[in-house]
Amino acid sequence: MMDKFTRHEGVAAVLLRSNVDTDAIIPSREMKRVSKEGLGEGLFAGWRYLAGAGRQKNPGFVLNQDGYQGASILLSGPNFGCGSSREHAVWALKEFGFRAVIAPGFGAIFASNCVRNGILPLVLAAGQVAKIAEWVAADPARNRVVIDLPAQQVEAAGQVYSFDIEPGARQMLVEGLDSVALTQTRWDLIQAFHERRRLSRPWLY
C-alpha cells in the first residue's frame, strides 16, 4: 500500500530547466545500496552540494535557499525525468518529501515510476508553469500551491488550472493501490493468454 494522494498543499520549489535527467535527480554514485531507501540525501547531489567539498551546501541551489524549506512540490521545465530508468530518482524525491512534480512534460518511464510510488507527475503548459513559478518565487514560504487530484485542479497565483491525467494513474494515486495486487485479480485471463501463446508461438517456450 502506498500513500494516497488526494488533496495536497505545499511549498513549491522552482527549478525551471528543460531536460532535467534522472542522472541529475540522483547521480549514480549516490545509489549505494541494494535498497529503495537512503536516497534523499543524494537528491540533486551534483547541484545541491559544492563540487569536491563533501556535503557543503551550494547556496545557489533552490533547495538550499530561504523560503523553500520543506518543499513538497517541484516546478520544472519540459521533459523532466528523461534519461536513465532508475526508479531511485523517484525514491529520492519521495524520501526528500516531494509529493508532486509540475512540468510541461515528463520522461515516460519516470512518470510511470512516480505513479507507482505515490508521487504525482502533473502536466501543465509551459506558460502556466512559468506563471506559477514567478508567483511562488515572489514569496515561496507563503505562496503555497494546492493540488486537488480528484478534481484535477491546481490552485496557485490566484487562479485555478485544470490538468489531465490518465484515469488508471489517477485511481492508483488516489486510492494508493498496489498495482501487482490489482493485476492479480485478472489472473484467469493472464493464465489463459499464456496457454494460448504457448500454442501459437511454440518456439518461444
Binding site: M31, G105, F110
Partner: protein, 468 residues
Amino acid sequence: MGLTLFEKLWSEHVVEAYDDGTDLVYIDRIFLHERTGSIALASLEAQGRTVFCPEQVFCSMDHIVDTYPDRTDETTMPSGKEFILATRRHSHAAGITLFDLNDPRQGIVHVVSPEQGIVQPGVSLVCPDSHTCTQGAMGALAWGIGSSEAEHALVTKTLRVLRPKTMRVRFDGRLAPGVTAKDMILHLISTHGANGARGCAVEFTGQAVAELDMEGRMTLCNMAVEFSAFTGLIAPDEKTIAFLRGRPYAPAGALWQQAADYWRTLRSSPDARYDRELVIDCASLEPQVTWGTSPQHAVGISACVPAADGLDAATAESQRQACAYIGLAPGQALAGLPIDAAFIGSCTNSRISDLRQAAAVLRGRQVAKGLRAICVPGSMQVKAQAEAEGLDQIFTAAGFEWRASGCSMCFFAGGEHFGYRERVISTTNRNFESRQGPETRTHLASPVTVAASAVRGCITDPRELLQP
C-alpha cells in the same frame, strides 16, 4: 486501413484493454541487470512474491562489475560487491538464467540479448533499463521500465501500459563513407529535440536503414529513448533472420522454419497510417558530434557551437548552462578542440562492427601523446570475436586499453571514471553532466569519429583519416 508494425505487435500482446487508453500487455521475456534487477528481486522476496515464469527471465552482470581483465566480485565502485552478491543469490533463488561475471556470455544486457537470440522478432521484452529500446532493432516490442514495473512483470508476466502513439522516421538516401547509424540518430534528435518523440513508438524505415547491418540498426534504436520515444523498432528482414540463425536461444529444427515464416509477415501494411511522420535525408549527412549536455546538442562536425538566438527562455537558459558546463562558447568550432580521453564502448557502439570500423581508422596509427583511450567490448563474445580477428592487437598497438565487457565508464557510479572536468569523446549515448566522471565534458560521436579524434588528440572529422 492496415496496421503499422507496432500496432500489430502490440495487439498481439494485449490481454485486456481498458477504456482509459491503457492495455494489460503480455510480456514474453524479461531481462534484468545487477543494478536495478537486484532491487526488484530483493523487493519481491521481501513481499513473499515469486517469479511466474523464471525460464523466460534472464539477468546479466554489466553495470557495476569492473572491466579489468582479472576482475572479481570486488569492485572499484564502492559497495558494488553488495549488488553482485545480491543479484547472484536472488537469481539462483528465483531460478532465472544469470550471465554471471565469469560466464563467457556475459556482457551488456542489450548486447547479450540479441547475441544469444533471446530477443526475436515479434516478442515483447522489458528490462529495468532505459536502453532496452535497442532491442527493437530485431523487430521486437522492447522497452525500458522502472523497478516497480519490473516487479509487476516478474510476478504477473504483464504490464499495464498506456498505448503509445505511432511515428515513422524514414531515412532516405545512402550514407557517405565515414557516416554511420550513430550520426543518423544524433542528427534526428538534434533536428527534432530530445523530446521529439514523446509518447510515440518510432519505426525506423527507408533505404539508409535497410542498408545498415544489424549492429547499426541496434545503434539507431538504442538512442530512441534519447528522443523520448516509448521505443524504437525496425521491421525484420532477411538480415534479421540471418543474424538469428544458430543463436543459442533462437528456434531450431522444424520450429525455425515456422518462426521464420511468421517473422517475414512482420511489417507495416502499405496503407498503414502513423500518428506522426518525419523524413531525414542521409545523402548530405556529415559525421555528428555533440557540443553540450543533451543528445539534442549535436551538430555536423564542421559546425560551431550554436547561438541561442530565437530560442524560448527555458531552452536558451539550458543552452547557456550547457555552454558553461562544457566550457565552450557559441560560435566556437568543434573540430580541432583538444580532448583528454577517448572511450569506445556502451550498448550504443560496442558491437563487432563498431570495433571493426574503429580499428580500420586505428590500424598502423597511434593515439595522441598523453591521451587516455579505452575500448570496452559490449560482451565477452564480442571480445572473443574481435580477438579472433586480431582487432585487439590494433587497439593495443594504437595505445588503447583493451577491456573485459561491461558498461564501464559509460556512467560514473563512484568507481572508475574520467578525471575532473576532463574532455572525453565517447561512443556512448548520454552527455549528461557528470555522466562519465566529476564534471566530465562528454562529446558523443560514432566509433570512427572517436578513433580519428583519439589519433589526432582533438575532435576530428574521421573522413580525413579514412582511405579514399
